[in-house]
């Protein structure tokens, strides 16, 4: 940013650089465009899903504003700065998770919140969604690649501690997302395929162990309901039966905006949060779902491009993991609503109603933008 450095660039470079306001704000134009499109789509669908509830729209729109603000702020920090402070951040968030474990606020049978009355109430697990891939990326980026056995074990330890803490809250959905975000860093860092295969084969006995020793009854119930949703049609299975009917009845072109019957007659529970894709599918049909998927895939394509173009290993690992985790959100949510996966409580990114998830997601994209816009010009020339 100093004058001397400018002089080394060609005249054109300087012009191009000065011309772009977005770049000076460290914002990636393509990402921003896609995010704004998704935001618009979200409000559009929410209007119908919430039964024309304008208050809800205003809240969602302001959450978007807040999230975009967070994204903008985060994009200003250089990745180097993030790498320097992430170990401390990791320790702080793990500390907060421990605090939740011992004195957290309980609501709806789960202890996920830290509550300072009158001041703030938040879920530390949300921070972990970004801190986790950052920590593993920081750790592996200064080690030789592909990761040695010892480094892999240490990375896994770093992943497992918050994973277990969040799983115990209990919050199966979030803990799995955090596990995935850490694991993706290892994957992109070139974890040998035979180790990956070994881990996958080890999952079976671990899953059996978890079933008997870790999982809560309501989580087991969800898995059982997944395997046979009709086994509990008055309780958990009701959601799946109704969401499948809503999706299926949409057909190719859908029933039209505001014309979905399943969601509007209160058949579909949680229609504006986790199950919102069913409303979209009912009202806009297969075409609507494919368009939304296309938007997501464009976002992911952009994220992967940023990964490949990133100059530092830290940036590459982090950008790749964030992008892949984003896809996990999409896949798990749509998979669960359409009856492919168990109901684990993952919102549909950017579309579902809910401020916390929006701010976290947009913060993640802030990190991506930071990685992309803080590249050194000299390397590109």
């Amino acid at each position: 940013m100093n004058g001397n450095f400018d002089r080394n660039l060609s005249h054109e470079d300087v012009l191009r650089r000065r011309a772009s306001l977005l770049q000076r704000l460290h914002v990636d134009g393509l990402l921003l465009l896609l995010l704004l499109t998704l935001a618009a789509a979200s409000l559009f669908i929410l209007y119908s899903a919430s039964g024309k509830n304008l208050d809800l729209l205003v809240k969602q729109a302001s959450s978007f504003g807040l999230g975009l603000g967070a994204m903008l702020v985060i994009a200003q920090f250089e990745p180097r700065f993030m790498a320097r402070w992430v170990p401390l951040g990791y320790l702080v968030v793990v500390g907060l998770l421990l605090a939740v474990e011992f004195m957290g606020h309980t609501a709806m049978g789960a202890t996920r919140w830290i509550n300072i009355p009158g001041l703030i109430r938040f879920q530390p697990s949300e921070f972990m969604k970004i801190i986790m891939p950052m920590t593993i990326a920081w750790y592996l980026s200064s080690r030789p690649l592909p990761p040695r056995f010892k480094h892999t074990v240490i990375s896994l330890a770093l992943i497992v501690v918050p994973f277990v803490l969040i799983l115990k809250q209990p919050d199966l959905g979030t803990s799995l997302l955090i596990l995935a975000s850490g694991a993706f860093v290892l994957f992109i860092a070139g974890l040998p395929w035979r180790w990956i295969l070994g881990a996958v084969t080890a999952v079976v006995p671990i899953a059996v162990g978890m079933w008997y020793f870790v999982m809560h009854d309501y989580q087991k119930q969800r898995v059982l309901t997944f395997l046979d949703p009709e086994s509990d049609p008055l309780g958990t299975g009701w959601n799946i039966i109704q969401s499948k009917a809503a999706i299926g009845s949409g057909g190719v072109f859908g029933k039209g905006w505001l014309l979905g019957t399943q969601s509007h007659l209160d058949f579909l529970p949680e229609s504006h949060t986790d199950f919102i894709i069913a409303v979209l599918a009912e009202e806009f049909g297969l075409v609507g779902v494919c368009l939304l998927l296309l938007l997501y895939l464009l976002l992911i394509a952009r994220g992967l491009t940023i990964t490949v173009q990133a100059q530092t290993l830290f940036g590459k690992l982090l950008a790749g993991a964030l992008t892949m985790t984003f896809f996990v959100y999409v896949f798990v949510n749509i998979g669960m609503v359409s009856g492919l996966l168990p109901v684990v409580g993952v919102p549909l990114p950017f579309i579902s109603y809910g401020g916390t998830s929006l701010v976290t997601l947009l913060s993640g994209f802030g990190v991506l933008m930071s990685i992309h816009t803080h590249r050194k010009w000299i390397a590109q020339v």
Binding site: F187, L234, I241, G251, V289, L297, I300, L304, L340
Partner: protein, 629 residues
């Protein structure tokens, strides 16, 4: 900055990452393909299926309520069963302008505006969408026919057959078994919404309330396809409900009837229990009411009559009625005095007709103003001598009295499975300080010795304390359920048995109780003389606190209602106790004159056969023979 060797690494790393990103991209595309395929499957291949389900026809999950467990008396006679009944239901979502539809229903059935109002209230209590809400029960054949004829202009209205609770024994068990009633808003909030999704009734009092979980059972469901008008087209799947468990009670219908007959229309309470097992065989609170009135919703008028009646039929005198136990407590007080060592079986007190605390002028009167002279323990119980017990209470002190009486169950809940039992009151220094912010006065100790003052007990507590005399301190909580399904009731917190320094103390006190009925000067000798077996008993009187409602009524009745309540406790046969009983006759005045004959009638009904002889199973063979000869 970068050294050559690291730069080489960097390029290698970049290549590695690029390859992994490529793999990631392929996986993302493949999985997206899976999602699209799934959507294609649901929205294109299964479109017809889902479309039919959602457009004109809808899939409904209909809960099938489990049938409520039956309740039997100890001999297998039915106390509560379920009767099929036709009710009128409304499904609000299908009725369109449901208020107009209700108007039409009222017109068709020629009902009153009051009932119309009740219907609307019931409809507004509806729960899940598309759930039919019953608005009227017990339709007659004619009403069903009228609805059928007018069905075309009554959308959303259906006649549904369902099982409704019925109490064939009427008022006999209204206070022990209780009744079910419609689930109200408050109960709705604390109920499991899934398990109660098809249930409209819930236990409100008594056994019905206490064993609600067991009696209710597990809901079943039926997945049905209906058309837009709500008519069921076909059943897709059905899971049967698990019916509630049947409960066999310890109560005996025959004894219950005999006990009620013994009260002969008087207001009062009777508890009879088997000391050896804690089984309550009769539980009477008179007057009573017909529990069937409450099942399908009692009318305001009927309820008002029951609630405002001066006789208070809704009041459970056995569990909620609090009375100063009076002299009935003297045998237990004697146990306390003996065990604490302040009296012996032979120690004597001179009774001039009153008792005075040292240096205090106030005279505590014996009921017999003339005095009984020199009194020992046996005589004191037989004659119900107050002076003896004033003296003993003063020596014992309130703390030890509280301790011993608590071990007899006074001042605490004694029953295992009775809903809304009152703890009563066994006063102590701490209690008085907390309640009145006053210290304990010696005079209060003195009157506590004859069961007066702050002390209050329920008839059930008196029966249990008497049963403890019969079992010589062996504690088994009185209970109403003999078998729940196939299981026996379990006491989660059993009371410790009463252990005395010398078990003979029991005999001394019991001998006094026996003399009450069989001694030459016994207070209830008239009753004892007519008995075919030996009875141990004790009479008592409880002073009346004016009944507020009564004051509005005419003075002749008012005076009657200010008379003392008559109490009598007893167990028999003395040498092998089979049954213990506590009787309270409201405003009966005389424990030995009014309550004792009632108690004896209950004992007779349990112990004697048709010929007026002690039943063989109740008499230890050798002793019975000896007495007869």
């Amino acid at each position: 900055m970068p050294q050559p060797i690291q730069l080489k690494d960097h390029e290698k790393d970049a290549l590695l990452v690029r390859r992994r990103v490529l793999v990631g991209a392929i996986v993302v595309l493949l999985l997206s393909g899976v999602l699209v395929a799934r959507m294609y499957f649901l929205q294109v291949i299964q479109y017809e299926h889902h479309s039919t389900l959602s457009e004109n026809n809808r899939v409904h999950v209909q809960p099938i309520p489990p049938s409520r467990g039956l309740i039997y008396d100890r001999n297998g006679r039915v106390i509560a069963d379920n009767r099929p009944s036709f009710s009128l239901t409304v499904t609000r979502e299908r009725a369109g302008e449901w208020r107009e539809v209700l108007d039409r229903v009222v017109g068709v059935l020629e009902l009153s505006a009051e009932e119309r109002e009740l219907f609307e209230k019931r409809v507004l209590q509806g729960r899940r969408p598309f759930e039919p809400v019953p608005i009227m029960y017990e339709l007659t054949e004619e009403q069903i026919a009228r609805i059928a004829v007018n069905q075309f202009r009554l959308p959303g209205i259906e006649v549904a057959a369902q099982l409704v609770r019925h109490y064939p024994q009427g008022a006999h068990f209204a206070h022990s078994v209780g009744y079910v009633g419609r689930i109200n808003e408050k109960e709705l909030q604390s109920l499991d919404p899934v398990n109660y999704s098809g249930t409209h009734h819930i236990g409100k009092t008594g056994i019905e309330k206490f064993y609600e979980d067991v009696l209710h059972g597990q809901v079943g469901y039926e997945e049905v396809e209906t058309n837009a008008r709500g008519r069921v087209l076909r059943v897709l799947k059905r899971t049967d409900p698990i019916p509630g468990k049947d409960i066999t009670l310890t109560l005996d219908l025959r004894l219950q009837e005999a006990a009620e007959a013994a009260l002969a229309g008087r207001r009062g309470a009777i508890v009879a229990l088997l000391p050896k097992t804690g089984e309550v065989v009769a539980m009477v609170s008179q007057p009573s009411f017909d529990p069937n009135l409450f099942v399908t919703g009692i009318s305001f008028k009927d309820y008002g009559e029951l609630r405002d009646s001066i006789d208070r039929p809704l009041y459970n005198r056995v569990l909620r009625g609090l009375y100063p136990p009076g002299s009935t407590i003297k045998p237990m007080m004697a146990i306390a005095g003996l065990d604490a060592g302040v009296i012996t079986p032979t120690s004597r007190v001179f009774d001039p007709g009153y008792y005075q605390l040292p240096n205090v002028k106030h005279k505590y009167r014996n009921w017999n103003r003339g005095g009984d002279g020199s009194v020992d323990l046996e005589l004191a119980i037989m004659r119900s001598n107050d002076t003896y017990f004033y003296d003993m209470a003063h020596k014992l002190g309130v703390d030890r009295m509280h301790d011993y009486m608590s071990r007899f169950g006074l001042g605490q809940r004694v029953a295992l499975d009775m809903y809304e039992e009152t703890a009563g009151l066994m006063p102590s220094r701490d209690w008085k300080r907390a309640r009145y912010r006053q210290p304990w006065y010696p005079g209060e100790t003195v009157i506590l010795g004859i069961g007066q003052g702050y002390m209050q007990a329920t008839p059930l507590q008196l029966a249990q304390a008497t049963a403890l005399m019969a079992t010589r301190g062996k504690w088994i909580r009185p209970h109403l359920a003999k078998r729940i399904g196939s299981e026996l009731p379990v006491d989660p917190e059993p009371m410790p048995d009463i252990e005395l320094r010398d078990p003979k103390f029991w005999d001394y006190s019991i001998r006094g109780m026996e003399q009450v009925l069989h001694g030459a000067r016994g207070t209830a000798k008239k009753v004892g003389d007519t008995a075919a077996y030996r009875i141990a008993g004790k009479s008592g009187t409880a002073q009346v606190v004016a009944i507020k409602q009564g004051e509005k009524y005419d003075s002749a009745r008012l005076a009657e209602r200010h008379r003392d309540h008559a109490l009598f406790v007893a167990f028999a046969p003395v040498h092998a106790p089979e049954i213990a009983v506590a009787v309270m006759v409201e405003n009966g005045e005389s424990g030995s004159g009014v309550a004792a004959p009632v108690a004896k009638a209950v004992l007779d009904a349990w112990l004697l056969d048709e010929n007026g002889q002690l039943k063989a199973e109740h008499a230890p063979a050798a002793k019975a023979d000896g007495e007869r000869s």
